[in-house]
Symmetry: C4
Subunit: 493 residues, 4 copies
Amino acid sequence: MSRSFSLDEVSKHNSPSSCWVIIGNKVYDVTEFLPDHPGGAKIILKYAGKDATSAYEPIHPPDALDKHLPREKHLGSLDSAAASAVKEAAQNRRKTKDELRVEAAHAAKPPVSRMLSLWDIEDVARKVLSYKALAYYASAADEEITDRENNRSFSRFFFHPRVMRPVSQCDPSTTILGFKSSIPVFVSGAALARLGHPLGEANITRGAGRKGIIQMVSSNASLSYAQIAEARVSPEQPLFFQLYKHRDDHIAEERVREVISLGYNAIFLTVDAIVAGNRERDIRAPFELEEQEREADQASDSADKSAKQEKEEGGDVNLLGTAGALIANDDLDMSWERTIPWLRSITKLPIVIKGIQCVEDAVLAAEAGVDGILISNHGGRQLEYALPCIEVLYRLRQQRPDVFDKLEVYIDGGARRGTDVLKALCLGAKAVGMGRPFLYAQSAYGEEGVVRAIDILEREIVRGMRLLGVSNVKQLVPEMVEHVNWQPVLSRL
Amino acid sequence: MSRSFSLDEVSKHNSPSSCWVIIGNKVYDVTEFLPDHPGGAKIILKYAGKDATSAYEPIHPPDALDKHLPREKHLGSLDSAAASAVKEAAQNRRKTKDELRVEAAHAAKPPVSRMLSLWDIEDVARKVLSYKALAYYASAADEEITDRENNRSFSRFFFHPRVMRPVSQCDPSTTILGFKSSIPVFVSGAALARLGHPLGEANITRGAGRKGIIQMVSSNASLSYAQIAEARVSPEQPLFFQLYKHRDDHIAEERVREVISLGYNAIFLTVDAIVAGNRERDIRAPFELEEQEREADQASDSADKSAKQEKEEGGDVNLLGTAGALIANDDLDMSWERTIPWLRSITKLPIVIKGIQCVEDAVLAAEAGVDGILISNHGGRQLEYALPCIEVLYRLRQQRPDVFDKLEVYIDGGARRGTDVLKALCLGAKAVGMGRPFLYAQSAYGEEGVVRAIDILEREIVRGMRLLGVSNVKQLVPEMVEHVNWQPVLSRL
Amino acid sequence: MSRSFSLDEVSKHNSPSSCWVIIGNKVYDVTEFLPDHPGGAKIILKYAGKDATSAYEPIHPPDALDKHLPREKHLGSLDSAAASAVKEAAQNRRKTKDELRVEAAHAAKPPVSRMLSLWDIEDVARKVLSYKALAYYASAADEEITDRENNRSFSRFFFHPRVMRPVSQCDPSTTILGFKSSIPVFVSGAALARLGHPLGEANITRGAGRKGIIQMVSSNASLSYAQIAEARVSPEQPLFFQLYKHRDDHIAEERVREVISLGYNAIFLTVDAIVAGNRERDIRAPFELEEQEREADQASDSADKSAKQEKEEGGDVNLLGTAGALIANDDLDMSWERTIPWLRSITKLPIVIKGIQCVEDAVLAAEAGVDGILISNHGGRQLEYALPCIEVLYRLRQQRPDVFDKLEVYIDGGARRGTDVLKALCLGAKAVGMGRPFLYAQSAYGEEGVVRAIDILEREIVRGMRLLGVSNVKQLVPEMVEHVNWQPVLSRL
Amino acid sequence: MSRSFSLDEVSKHNSPSSCWVIIGNKVYDVTEFLPDHPGGAKIILKYAGKDATSAYEPIHPPDALDKHLPREKHLGSLDSAAASAVKEAAQNRRKTKDELRVEAAHAAKPPVSRMLSLWDIEDVARKVLSYKALAYYASAADEEITDRENNRSFSRFFFHPRVMRPVSQCDPSTTILGFKSSIPVFVSGAALARLGHPLGEANITRGAGRKGIIQMVSSNASLSYAQIAEARVSPEQPLFFQLYKHRDDHIAEERVREVISLGYNAIFLTVDAIVAGNRERDIRAPFELEEQEREADQASDSADKSAKQEKEEGGDVNLLGTAGALIANDDLDMSWERTIPWLRSITKLPIVIKGIQCVEDAVLAAEAGVDGILISNHGGRQLEYALPCIEVLYRLRQQRPDVFDKLEVYIDGGARRGTDVLKALCLGAKAVGMGRPFLYAQSAYGEEGVVRAIDILEREIVRGMRLLGVSNVKQLVPEMVEHVNWQPVLSRL
């Protein structure tokens, strides 16, 4: 990789038959990789012969090229004139309408100290996130019904608070797979944090470490697993790994061995996202954005013609969206019989099944001898009309209370308040995972946003425990919640 | 029919006592037919002595005059001067406000490749359809409650998705009455496709043929049964026939024999539409349109006086609407004892009862020995407060599971997503019919719209099956759905 | 009553100590009547010494003065100069903002032939009614919850329609207390029809007579009982009488004897309105109107001062409203033991208890031997949170089906569609009463409005029967309706 | 306290190390008190060396300084020049935007005689209250769901009204802990009445006394307990005391002994507010107000710079809100075993537990031998998702009817109508408490507002009793209410 290239030279390789791209002043030949790109060849070809850095970086970890592109395709670097030209072009690039909106939103956001709830933080994040990032973070399957119902379902559980119990000493801490957690909440796996903030997943790692809760790192993180491990506040800070299993067992094994060697502490095998959910907001984002820019252009200059032309052509629509690309190579043929023994054979780490969605599979998981299950419908992003997670948990408690003795049970999806967490714990959950709230927190305020979110949750949980009359999490019991048959009016949904 | 006529001559026959009309340059004497016209004499008299082509064509199949008007009333053709004059008049006619709106909507619609769901297609169709066509397609009985509930009812069924099952090989195909269908969906009978697109039902025939699903053709199609048969992509493409039984058994028999001879493959006897439902939007369409044009007129010229006059007169309102006219001669006295044996006596084709709305009648149908039942409330267009079809299916599954062993059960009404289809299949349906979605698809994008709609459904069904953990339709079982007692918030309704 | 008076003379009697009023050119001394006026003395004193005709007439029957004011207080007539002056003053009076609005609404309303449903008619009526009239007609107790729930409750009953049954011959007629009714609907008692139309209750009498349904006449009609009897289309036309029982048995007996002698055919004893409901819209109407006029005045002249003054004074608010005044003398101490035998002792006419609101009282009514019960919560105008009538009927059918064998059961409140009527009949009601719909119909279109309303209902009922598979009302059975546990989305409420 | 001070001298003590404040022309050294101030040191330091009267007075009773600040820290008075300067400064102070809004709202409000319901009064109060006062009064926990559900829950209880029962004599009175109450309603404890009206709690005391109902006085009243006792209309007027128990038993005992000596008649021990609820509206009020004023400033002058600066600093947010400060020293370790015997040991007054929220604790209270329980979730201000009070009452009636024989049961939270009160009485409550409605009534109209509110309730209760067929409160029985499974549409929520 000692060669250096002029822009002119690179620009000649601008077609499917020879496709070079510049990323971070380096030149890569991706011609042979085009058909294997999970996000499709089309998006790469848009940058054929050109600088692709700004599009590439937020959605790929730095080690992606090393892992996926053979060494010999790393052709070399730009020469200094080219590097300067690329840099200047990036600086002179006219900002898009959406980028200008984001800048203004960041300037106008309130100080983090005024964030009183996770909803407040989400409100800020929805303003400061780019259109594309918000579409990826917020989108869910089809009409997004399960996503909304995940949250609304908590509202049909009411408390039977107990009074006249000593609660001045109140300890909200618990353990998860034996690891201490300052509150019964963990960061659930969620990909592409750099879409929302340049420091990405490391914001969460540091915030979680400072406050004593545990982060589950996605296979599709936008930092490398090593970078995230390095971001820990101490070597003892536990990290869990959310495994998307590659269809090729060997590639999958390599991924597991990498995180073992980095000191990750548990494997959450994701089983509810073997194919991409139909996240229409995410899929639609590219052409919604295009429409926005076109309108902006029409106001300022005469870009009419090409816009019209493109419209008439229509062209392909990438139906996978950002999410689909990430899991394009996942294993569609996992099974209890094959996959659990395989995973056990390569690691001694605790194994949790992420994505259990009914009582029957919870029972099978217990029989398979895993260490825990995470009841989850992937934040409503996969199968529309999967039962909300708190409803599944409730059914498990009603129908098979014995399962809670055999493994640890967690839920994620829809929890936003301390009371949501407490309801799940009353029903037998050991902890509650949250994904989007931490993406939003780091997008709005970086590491400090993550710390604030945990502070808020801790305050809500401790207050809730005291008002329920309990002084530690073990005192949270099923008798303290009631599943009512009416639907409260929610101001949010 | 060798005579030729001048416009002057035709124009003299402009009264109930002698009423001629021009349709497609031909001259017809409809004087004696006036009292028998299902849509009423009034609408014909509006065109007495004049050219009626543009009003006639979209709502009558080309063979209607041959079938319903005696040969001797087909008087002859216009002479060439008259033909030119009629043509010129049609071209010079000032477009109505609604026609201009439709033209603009067509010009602005997005390319079909950006349609992500049936809802997207419906949104486009609602913009590009004429006021009258949309009123006919979209209208339902009374307050349209059953129409909305048909759709909403699906949302009270949630899934129990199964994980860790091999699903890379996933086959969504099934058979309907022994005929192969690429997905468990068929086109349910829906009339007057030419109201929405000049090629009408043939768009659906070709789209269905190309994608391997089956079309049920309405007795009230706006193309002739022969034209539709000819539109098939191959002679093997199956077609079902939706029979509205004429009160005169002989006329009814003639209709059945016609479709047998054309190679149709099954008879769906429609029993839920013996009288017209109260579709107020459809009934109201003529005077809503009149009002629109009047407002347009008042802006541009002084049509005030006649408008006012008409208003004061009030005049008759056709309470049947478009729909009522279509079934004006239907048999109100069908019975299990009389009608099924009669139909069996004239055809060996499979017989399905379309319009079963309760468990008791499903049982009677099984006892009557028919081949299938289509649980349907006619898209909510007939009896307001008929139970939604998925609710009837659920009750049948709960109360009389034996019926599913005796005949094939289908449902239609309200399904719009792959998940809707899968819920019905879990409960025992062999396939799900859709009517309006295909009318909308062909109205918005012609044959390509139909193909796109089927593509969307196939993608949604396959994705849904995989996320449910099944690899063929037989694995869809009642345990996979749960009827919940809350109502999700829907963004659409 | 031979004396005649000048305006000057009358105007001197303008105080509580001597209070004369002019009504229809006649002069009355109402000084001693002031404390007995059910609507309060204040409203009369507003007209002391002046012409009160326009305020008096729409809310009092013409025989009210004969019945309630001793002969010697009918002082005489205006002299001709006075009569002219009064007439001229009435003509020159500046119309109020509300009167101008009503005139414009009447001019703009669509022809009656375009009315497709009772809702259409109500929409017109809500536009053409005076503020005060609409407030009286539409208002209900407290937040008007029971009024809305009366209607919404019907929407939780769905049909099990039957197919393949001969229904070409379909007879919607029934009998009520032995009297023939062309459809199972009657006009329920509703007061003060002249507030909405100058011909008042006679519009309903004639419309009902022409279409063959039965009117129940309110004790508080704005025409005399005799005038209504005279409006019948034939002497055989049945009329029912809604009795508000006066606390003085003798006065009550006199009222009953009057209607017997006029040929009325049944007594509906009203038991749910012994005190006035809290109809805030009705109570608020006077000051809302005052506010409207004040705003109009402020625009046109300087009426500021007095308005401000009145505001500061505040003054009494009549908390009874129009409705309260009408029943100010009702009997609060009726009982099964005392009242039914008393009524039986003075008439052989059928007796129906109007206002049964729970199963227990339906049973007591059957034991008391009355001929019928009308399950009613007075259109939601009395006790907020009385159960909706269809819900009470349903409970009666579930818990005490024997009651239906002992007397006739009717319901009123909330029915607006043929399907509503059919649901009630399926559950065992003999007929369904409607009050407001007929007030609205006559207000909007007079007698023709009433005829149209009945035509609409008949068409809806016959269509509904056919689509349910029944050819006469006896075939409507409980198995045909199901009480569902979800709430449909209604476009109206 | 004989010394007198110049403003100059006071102004030197403007820091944490020496902090003096002026309240009502008196000078206090609060340096040592700073860390103990329940509302935090920051808010005091804002006034260090300055006049704090206007901020201090509405939220502290006049005896607060005597009780909480040692005698020697009451330094003396302002000299006459200083007193004049302070007075002049107060008069010349520019009114805030919010103060101007409140003044205009008071001028525009309708006369009290036009208030027809408690909702009307609340509507006025919401307009005339300062932003801060409304935020404190109206706010509730988290999303304020329990607050709304408290009210909505009543709407799922419908009546079975009885007819034909003598009700002309109707007595709505009852007793509470043996004390006569003209209607089964009492004023529930609610703090800081002077935020809404300068006369504060005394408005309620006098209104309640005049109408014969009983007031429960909050520990956190903004008048002294003595001032409230003095406001009674007669020495016999009963008063209840809502005890927030201080964590120090001796201080708590002192408080109880004070109210005993003042003649208070019962102790309501508050157990549901040991820590502050998360009332975000209240917490947010200071910075919302700041924002308002900043906007006003920016319009009129150039205050930009400091505003911007403050924003950038962010600064601490007081997460306790007004409410939190009030209970900062409450006892978190109360228990049935310890606290009830302690309270019994210091008083013979009846003891009621305020804040029972489930059946289990109602039973424990009965076993503890207290005189009554008030089922309450503190107006939804403490634990979000505590069951609504009427639902808890209903469960108690269903599951443990024996408890009603052992002690008196009251509820508060959400009742706004006479029908709400009657439903609770049917289910076994002896009386219903209302808090916010009386705060609103006195804020809008002072003492007359309180009288009007009670008049409205009395009228609604008597009317409701008559329409239910009962003539005294003992006749209200469980059979008269039904818990329905649907949710009525409410116009308010």
